[in-house]
């Protein structure tokens, strides 16, 4: 199993590890952030009652939000690291499309979202679409 030298300066398995790290870290970050925002409530309602400062305070005083942001920051630095070794046309489609599927699974398991047939179909169509578009 090899990756064309035009797409990668490293071997197949290091490239897979870099992409897997981005996917796992961003999925953890997005699920934790979504859980934080759900626990805070509708930001538009909060802003209507207590203004922009109140909305910002509600977000930055939520510990779950910081856990999510920490994972997203790790995902961001792993993306920067991967872009330094792999071509964008490899990293972007692989990480973006697979993250959609892992998030749908994590959303159903951890956030108890109603991921019905419509959302699974959408996740799979968008996943294939992103791969084709960015490949």
């Amino acid at each position: 199993m090899t990756i064309p030298p035009s797409l990668s300066t490293v071997g197949f398995w290091p490239a897979c590890a870099m992409i897997a790290a981005i996917i796992l870290l961003s999925t953890a970050g997005e699920v934790l952030t979504a859980a934080a925002m759900k626990s805070i409530g509708d930001l538009d309602d909060i802003r209507a009652i207590s203004g922009m400062k109140g909305a910002i305070r509600a977000v930055v005083t939520c510990p779950l939000f910081f856990a999510g942001v920490s994972f997203l920051a790790l995902a961001f630095f792993s993306l920067l690291f991967a872009l330094n070794h792999l071509n964008l046309s490899l990293v972007a489609p692989a990480s973006a499309s697979l993250t959609l599927v892992t998030n749908a699974i994590a959303g159903k398991i951890f956030l108890k979202e109603n991921v019905d047939r419509r959302r699974w179909t959408s996740a799979v169509l968008v996943c294939i679409g992103v791969y084709l578009l960015a490949h």
């Binding site: 979504a34 925002m37 538009d44 009652i49 207590s50 749908a104 109603n114 959408s122 169509l125 992103v130």
Partner: protein, 151 residues
């Protein structure tokens, strides 16, 4: 699951989510490819990279994405918001085709069609999973910061 209809303002926020992410990623890619190789043994070399113009612009766009993304997540499910982020790739591809006159292969047109159908699929459904008691909790959460302000 009850239907949750979005207001025009909420669609605008989803539009910002869609547009800012791919533009930010493109700026990061342009910035990172112009830097010397970064090795795992010296991860701190990533920090000065943050202050180069293309990467700084990319970060500014990603911050705008994150603010609108958080707002969207406060009134919609993660599995509803995420396909919207992918629609940004379609906007960028159409922008490249019709404004920059770049060629788009048959594969990419197929990708555009699939993403559009996928986003249309999820956008026609409910945006939020109904939870018993959630409606009663929300006003309490919203009122909390106001009560703190009055003290």
């Amino acid at each position: 699951m009850a239907q949750h209809h979005l207001s025009p303002r909420q669609y605008l926020i989803l539009g910002l989510v869609a547009l800012c992410a791919p533009l930010g990623d493109s700026c990061l890619s342009r910035g990172m490819t112009h830097l010397p190789p970064i090795v795992l043994s010296h991860p701190l070399t990533l920090i000065p990279a943050v202050f180069t113009p293309w990467i700084a612009l990319g970060i500014a766009l990603l911050l705008a994405f994150f603010a609108s993304y958080l707002t969207a997540l406060s009134w919609a499910d993660l599995t509803f918001v995420l396909p919207a982020t992918a629609f940004g790739n379609v906007i960028v591809a159409l922008f490249a085709r019709f404004w920059l006159h770049e060629a788009i292969s048959l594969e990419r047109w197929a990708g555009i069609v699939l993403i559009t159908i996928g986003v249309g699929f999820v956008a026609n459904g409910p945006s939020l999973t109904e939870r018993p008691g959630a409606a009663a909790d929300l006003p309490a959460a919203a009122a909390q910061p106001q009560e703190e302000q009055l003290r």
